[in-house]
């Protein structure tokens, strides 16, 4: 069985990821677990070194690179040692040439596959998808990157957070780098505005990770209390759905909610050209709005909505004013009534066209 993977994510060096990793290692040891240090980045920080004392260190591999002697994690030695938990610092690190794996996250993958739990650390600037944004924010192009899927596949991603001001204080006190190096860093990478931007990226990354995990877990609205609101808007490929999607987006923004747009199309019913154009326009609008566009093929509209609400943890359902004739309502029943009946505990909002208010005039 694959080991449990926990990643400690920070905005920059010095926020305390390694320290936290060691704290968690010691805690696990105190609980009777077999813990080793697979690799600890030698930062020359006395507090960190003191915390590492008493945890077994698996000897590193030495590699000669030109005149340099480099040390890397010995993956095979960690696997042979077979601890319950291995602490491995800096997952985005690039191994010395000649190692079996190019990157440390690949080494970690092997350790996890051997059934060993791993706690690792990384800074947000190493995330591949953020490489361009980070370069623009910091004027530094990060070369050691790791793919986004590593965060997605981890069992847990934990943010190790510190305010930019607190980090600067730590730097000035020489707790991160030696003082002379710290002063140069404070004038470059570690300026408050850059750290704030990096912190925002790290916070957003962890928030998105939590959102994605919530989405991928099948929620039971009856037993699981959703933490945040989530809006589902029912659209059809016709012009009025543009307005409906925009109105749902505005409500979702006010609620601070994620927005999903759902189109349920009947099987075997091809779309007319106008409908195809409308559908493509809705998809484009969803991208602009940052909404998720969901398409389902099913003849049972209400049943499909119920399933999607259940799967995505929706708390609100928006729909346009149904254009049912009264006799259809009598014969088949009303869509709104069916949704109210089938979606207990979910708020349902019928979005009208404001221009129709003129019809209220006596």
């Amino acid at each position: 069985m694959r080991g449990h993977y926990r990643i400690l994510l920070g905005m920059a060096a010095g926020v305390g990821k390694t320290y936290r990793m060691l704290q968690e290692g010691r805690q696990a040891q105190a609980e009777g677990r077999d813990v080793v240090i697979g690799y600890l980045e030698p930062h020359d920080r006395p507090e960190t070194a003191a915390l590492a004392e008493g945890i077994e260190v698996v000897p590193r591999l030495r590699a000669q690179h030109g005149t340099l002697e480099l040390e890397e994690m010995d993956v095979d030695a960690v696997i042979r040692r077979a601890p319950e938990l291995a602490l491995v610092d800096e997952l985005a690190h690039t191994n010395a040439p000649g190692m079996r794996n190019e990157k440390r996250y690949q080494d970690i993958d092997e350790v996890l596959n051997a059934g060993i739990d791993v706690i690792s650390t990384v800074n947000v600037q190493h995330l591949e998808s953020l490489n361009d944004s980070i370069a623009e924010l910091t004027d530094i192009r990060v070369r050691e990157t790791f793919p986004d899927r590593i965060l997605e596949e981890a069992d847990e991603v934990v943010l190790v957070d510190l305010t930019p001001e607190a980090l600067q204080k730590r730097m000035l006190a020489g707790k991160v780098y030696p003082k002379e190096r710290a002063e140069i860093a404070l004038q470059n990478f570690f300026r408050v505005e850059k750290l704030s931007a990096l912190r925002e990226l790290a916070l957003r990354e962890v928030a998105e990770d939590v959102g994605a995990r919530r989405q991928s877990t099948v929620l039971d609205p009856l037993s699981v209390q959703a933490v945040a609101e989530r809006v589902l808007v029912l659209v059809t490929p016709e012009p009025r759905s543009q307005r409906l999607l925009r109105r749902a987006w505005r409500s979702a923004e006010r609620l601070g909610a994620e927005l999903d747009a759902l189109w349920v199309h009947k099987p075997g019913k091809p779309l007319a050209e106008e409908e195809q154009v409308s559908l493509a326009a809705l998809r484009r609008l969803a991208i602009v709005l940052g909404a998720h566009f969901v398409e389902e093929e099913d003849g049972d509209l209400v049943g499909t909505v119920r399933r999607v609400v259940y799967e995505r943890g929706s708390t609100y359902v928006f729909l346009g004013t149904p254009d049912e004739r009264r006799w259809i309502e009598v014969v088949r029943g009303s869509l709104v009534s069916a949704l109210v009946r089938e979606l207990p505990g979910i708020d349902i909002r019928v979005v009208a066209n404001r221009a129709d208010r003129e019809e209220l005039r006596p």
């Binding site: 012009p239 925009r246 007319a272 609008l285 709005l289 004013t321 009264r326 066209n353 129709d356």
Partner: protein, 176 residues
């Protein structure tokens, strides 16, 4: 006995009439202006602001053409963002403008099919839109007192590249 049957018959007829009346009574559902298949489509593209005189003129043109009015708010995605980035702040500006155009068009009995389209420049967004949708007439507003509308250079580009009949609308000086 006969009187009772007659009363019952009248009641049944009255009930049946009421039921039929209820079923066939005109819905008080919102007006949905019918859009004929293959109806003409008039695009009015804008960004930032739209002069009310341009809106009125666009509605008049669409009504005369028996066309669907397509007001399109064009968003420029800054180069520092990916092309698929959501643009919340910009959309906040676009929403009330589109709603206002939609209301005005619907009040005038003109069917409307609004869009928000994005690109690296206004002309890029416009090009993207007419590459995927058919338009029979394109309305390009000129600037009003130097605000809103397309610039001279953009208008020249629109006139050169538009795939349909193009109208450059300059608001009346009084309105401006």
């Amino acid at each position: 006995m006969t009187a009772l049957v007659a009363v019952l018959a009248v009641l049944v007829v009255a009930l049946a009439a009421a039921l039929v009346a209820m079923l066939v009574r005109r819905n008080r559902h919102p007006r949905r202006l019918p859009v004929n298949r293959g109806a003409r489509r008039v695009l009015v593209a804008f960004s930032g602001r739209l002069d009310p005189t341009v809106v009125e003129a666009a509605i008049r043109i669409a009504r005369a053409d028996e066309a669907v009015l397509v007001p399109a708010y064009l968003l420029v995605v800054p180069l520092r963002y990916g092309e698929d980035s959501p643009l919340r702040d910009e959309v906040e500006l676009a929403m009330p403008l589109l709603e206002a155009v939609e209301h005005a068009a619907l009040r005038a009995g003109v069917p409307v099919d609004a869009r928000i389209e994005k690109g690296r420049t206004l002309t890029h967004a416009l090009k993207r839109l007419w590459e995927v949708e058919r338009f029979d007439r394109i309305i390009a507003p000129a600037p009003t007192n130097g605000h809103g509308g397309f610039t001279e250079k953009e208008l020249a580009w629109v006139l050169t590249h538009a795939p349909a009949e193009t109208v450059v609308l300059k608001p009346m000086p009084a309105a401006a």
